[in-house]
């Protein structure tokens, strides 16, 4: 069943993700995507798919996997709570996470899938030899077996 997920993000924010990936290369960067989603609690009836989700701010984070930062990233529960707090202070919520794949394509790995949560958007930016390259977004399927691609729509200015 093809889902029609869309993620709106401004050019500026997408560039910030790419820069974060380049800055910490060859390590993985990570951070939270703060925004709005029409399917969130309290927004009334809405479709489960096909409804654009919008990223309106970022919450860059420290990669806690200092034992293996080139091919792993981790965000602790306390960090997640901090990101949720930052989001709610701006009337937003955490709609997903971004991380980089240093010298790897922007495709979710098996490790990504095994550790993913449903509903969240997972942006991956590939950083090849220190230069940001392809950026993709994915969502875990309900059965946890696979991902669905999410179309990233770069908008010229945040639509808030």
């Amino acid at each position: 069943m093809a889902e029609n997920f869309q993620l709106w993000i401004s050019h500026d924010l997408s560039e910030r993700i790419r820069r974060h990936g380049a800055e910490v290369f060859p390590h993985e960067c990570c951070g939270a995507l703060l925004g709005r989603d029409a399917t969130a609690v309290g927004s009334g009836d809405s479709q489960e798919s096909g409804t654009p989700r919008e990223v309106l701010d970022l919450f860059p984070m420290v990669n806690r996997r200092d034992d293996s930062p080139r091919n792993r990233f981790a965000v602790t529960a306390d960090d997640v709570r901090d990101a949720e707090k930052a989001a709610s202070q701006h009337g937003l919520e955490v709609v997903g996470w971004y991380h980089s794949h240093p010298d790897h394509p922007a495709r979710p790995s098996q490790f990504d899938r095994e550790h993913a949560w449903p509903w969240y958007s997972y942006i991956i930016v590939s950083v090849m030899s220190g230069a940001p390259a392809e950026m993709t977004s994915w969502r875990l399927d309900d059965d946890r077996q696979d991902y669905s691609a999410e179309r990233i729509e770069i908008r010229n200015s945040a639509g808030a």
Binding site: F73, A77, E93, S109, W119
Partner: protein
């Protein structure tokens, strides 16, 4: 004991979009069991196939991580709040 379980944002789609649920339980484990009895689709996102809590699922009783208490056997009392908090991981 009547306790409240806080459901994290990514799992609310499997819980009738509720952000919390009231359950009756004697332990944290029973509270989670009560939650998944109400919303069976939550089960595979919280537990592995052999019934263990997934490694990136963190459970707090009030503000204490149950890993530092008696884990799922931690007793609960009336009015307690059990929070499910994600941690996030991945890599290439």
């Amino acid at each position: 004991m009547a306790v409240k379980v806080i459901i994290p944002t990514p799992l609310r789609v499997y819980a009738a979009k509720k952000d919390s649920a009231e359950v009756s339980a004697e332990t944290v484990g029973e509270a989670l069991g009560g939650l998944t009895a109400q919303f069976s689709e939550l089960r595979k996102h919280l537990f592995t196939d052999d019934g263990k809590l997934r490694s990136f699922v963190n459970v707090y009783l009030n503000d204490e991580d149950i890993r530092y208490m008696a884990k799922e056997a931690t007793p609960v009392k009336d009015g307690d709040v059990v929070s499910i908090v994600p941690s996030i991981a991945g890599g290439c």
